[in-house]
Amino acid sequence: MKEMYFDAVVIGGGAAGMAAAQELDQAGFSCAIIEREEQLGGILTQCIHNGFGLIEFKEELTGPEFAERVEERLQGTTIRIFTATTVMEMETTADPKLLYCYSAQWGILRLSCRLVVLAMGCRERNRGNIRIPGDRPAGVYTAGLAQRLVNIEGYVPGKDIVIIGSGDIGLIMARRMSWVGCKVHAVVEILPYPSGLTRNIVQCLNDFDIPLYLSHLTTNIIGRDRVEGVEITPIENGALMHEKAFTIPCDTVLLSVGLVPENELSKVAGVELNPMTNGPQVDSMLMTNVPGVFACGNVLHVHDLVDYVVEESRRAGASAAQWLKGRRPQHEARLKVGANVRYVAPGRVDLQADNKIYLRSLIVKNDALLEVKVNSRVVKSQKKSHIQPSEMIELHLSPKDLEAAIGAPDPLVEIAIN
């Protein structure tokens, strides 16, 4: 067994892990990135479409380009990168913390460190998660798996496609499958509105005349050996209209029914999760309930823009470095989810620092009002011309905004959308 020591170890070498590691290195700490795949970049390497980097690089890039640009920033640093290495277990209560990894090169690798950054990204929900009844034929894929097969490995998984779920990965895959010569017959969404970004509806469905069935449930996947079709049932006023059910013939079904932060490892290490995000519950420094364990990127909450992932992860890396130097937040307030808000991340704000908060709404609305209350008094309100659940909302809270909370016993900051 090979053993090594680092001040900080970052688990996951996607956009989040690379950005966090760079900050730790810049602050002078020894740092390692552990990545399960053979290369850095994470999910970005299979997202070959454009639409990345407008905020971070001020130009529009594809996923692989964005990943390479972030990776290039690591050149000249002393960050130690372990690819083809998976973290299997961690002991985070001991000092130093211990990470047990399986590595293609070293076999079992034991790393000891003072600090861990969780940056494991997320994984896709699958058929089991959404319980579609019917047979179990070949030809049912998650959209992200199909994306990897087509874009990296060069296999096209079928010819006649139906996509279940209108998440971004599904929409992006509708265009991809059309561009590689498949026929996409439908995108089926249970909700009355699409869950992906508007521009993906325009670019990936409308351009190809792919019908989007909103308020429709997939009630059956038909086929014994291979998928032969899917049965779709309309929903009206919350009830399934069985007499209006219809079948769309196809040989392949792609599921795009959401992402879940990859927190198996975190759970075992005693990290508390927020049931609304499925990611760790973090404080204003993006630290979990386990001292010295930080989290950022999709493992913390599912982001729609990698630019936000990088921004958040830099902050996590910087505050992790400050933590190693001994900084602890002195005055924090709990953040509370108010009306029409699905979640806020992080879960706490520092009353003496500038805070950046990401939140998601539960509703689609034009001319919405974002309101921040400290102990029930409105301290900040912001107009939003358009909000929807698929688009994350950014919010800044300065010490001035939060003045009212100073000195109050157990202050509570509530964020609501009206």
Binding site: T62, E65, E153, W179, L197, H386
Partner: protein
Amino acid sequence: MSEELICITCPLGCHLTIERRPDNTLGVSGNRCARGVRYACEELLSPKRMVTATVRICRPFQAEAAACGETGLGSVARLPVRTSQAYPKEGVAGLLADIYRLEVTVPVKRGTVLLADYKGSGIDIIAARSLQV
């Protein structure tokens, strides 16, 4: 008379309202930045799309294995490419067919031009990642 469009230049997806003025110019509102105006004019007058795709890669020492499709599951078998700028929408199918005919020998560097000035459009097809042998 006004038309509604959603700007797709960036992920913000602004909802644009376009008025065709009597003097044949377009009046655009709802955009969060100047690119929204440009998008509305283009989309109504000459629509264009960024095209991303992949091309076959040829590894000199693995030519035989690749020829029989034996690259092994999980390995990188395609190089992602993109247009240097958005390409006229009606020509996308033809462009894709020409991209799929390409074959690139690794190593290749990100940004390498694989097809220059495609059909005199001024638009190049470039490699979107670097690949080692």
